[in-house]
């Protein structure tokens, strides 16, 4: 028992206290920035947690090309507009902020739609108004209003990148399932990636009710994962609490 106590007291220090402080500050910053980045993917996922901007999730996930196009346009608009508004904080007073956001975001979305039209005009025609709807997406508004106008440039980029990655992941996941189940093959820009012969394709998944069902079950699966991890965490905490109780009772027994 005495040896263990001595080992605990002798901490081997690799660095001097000054450099140790700098290193801990650096790792603290890295953790902070990483948390800013993954906030948009996990803790504040726009579809599953905040339930905002659901129109494209249902409307556009019938094929992967459309999902990729919309996520590109969304990321483009979000990242560049957050960059702009984090720089132009002082001009965006409360009175003028809303029309300003509308102007900037709608111009960026028009630009993105022109880019998509240049790449493949049929894709842009099939997307129709859902590309224009990105301009009033609630996520972009809330991120600019709630974050970009108050934080500096680097954090805004991280935040925008995180949210666009979370958005794209959600869209592409739903599009994959719907296309697989609905047509039996995954077609990426006229290239067949995967073709399954195990089942007859179910056309309901390509239609409107199928979208609702797919997303309902996707949210249920994510809830399952969250509840399972919470129950595991609770079990771990209970184990630690039991250990502490035993240690306390042993100490009392020793002292007695």
């Amino acid at each position: 028992m005495a040896d263990k106590k001595e080992e605990q007291e002798e901490k081997i220090e690799l660095f001097e206290p000054e450099t140790q402080e700098k290193i801990s500050r650096f790792t603290g910053k890295v953790k902070d920035y990483w948390q800013e980045f993954t906030k948009g993917v996990f803790s504040l996922n726009p579809f599953y947690v905040l339930a905002m901007g659901l129109c494209p999730l249902l409307a556009v996930t019938y094929s992967i090309d459309s999902a990729i196009a919309i996520s590109f346009a969304f990321s483009f608009a979000l990242i560049i507009s957050e960059m702009i508004f984090s720089i132009m904080k002082k001009f965006a007073t409360k009175e003028i902020r809303f029309p300003m956001i509308l102007l900037v975001v709608s111009s960026l979305v028009a630009l993105a739609s022109m880019l998509i039209r240049f790449y493949s005009p049929s894709l842009e025609a099939s997307l129709g108004i859902y590309l224009a709807i990105i301009a009033i997406n609630c996520i972009i508004f809330s991120r600019i209003n709630g974050f970009a106008v108050r934080n500096n440039f680097f954090r805004s980029i991280l935040d925008a990148a995180g949210f666009s990655i979370g958005y794209s992941l959600a869209l592409i996941a739903v599009a994959l399932t719907r296309e697989l189940l609905g047509t039996g093959k995954i077609v990426l820009f006229d290239r067949i990636l995967f073709q399954s012969a195990f089942y007859h394709p179910m056309q309901i998944f390509l239609s409107a009710p199928g979208a609702f069902f797919t997303i309902g079950f996707a949210i249920a699966i994510i809830n399952l994962v969250i509840l399972y991890s919470k129950s595991q965490g609770r079990k771990k905490l209970e184990k630690i609490a039991l250990k502490n109780q035993k240690a306390d009772s042993q100490k009392k027994g020793d002292s007695k």
């Binding site: 599953y48 339930a51 905002m52 659901l54 129109c55 249902l58 409307a59 809303f98 029309p99 509308l102 102007l103 709608s106 111009s107 979305v109 028009a110 739609s113 022109m114 108004i129 224009a132 709807i133 301009a135 009033i136 997406n137 609630c138 508004f141 239609s207 409107a208 009710p209 199928g210 979208a211 609702f212 069902f213 997303i215 309902g216 079950f217 949210i219 249920a220 809830n223 399952l224 509840l227």
Partner: protein
Amino acid sequence: MNYFLATAISLIFANNIVLFQFLGMCPFFNASRDIKHSVKFGFSLIVAIIVNSSLCWLVFNYLITPLGLEYLKIVLTLFVTLFCLGILRLVFGGRYFPLLATNCAIVGFASLSLSSLNLVEVMYSSMCAGIGIILVMLIMASLKERLDLNDVPNIFKGLSIAFLTAGMLSLAFAIFSELL
């Protein structure tokens, strides 16, 4: 007469704005339990949709197309919506009009109706679209009341069961497309 009936059935039931064209999802899923609130919101929505679509169509066809500025469609729709909602707020003085500025239904339907042929068509179809939205919102609000009383499994509670219910609703409304 046939035309008006067909448009009405199409926009209210078979191609419902919320269930089949997926515009106006946000108030649909956050439909409050209070039905009076939903009705008031629905009224302001229908007024906003009619006025906004008509204004957008007029500006697009008589100002923008003669000048050849069709690429400004998106920007135009948004700014006319903003202007229109501001005017409606002054005239009617409700608290819902500023909320509707980021509503996909109003802006989306205005974009959709820009290619219509005349003003009567725009106004009638936007009225039908508004009625469709109100109908689905009321049905969803009452369904949510019942869902609260039922024994939903833990996994499906919240947004998941709302989506599945909406899916059932859209399946039910899809039968009307056989009529057209």
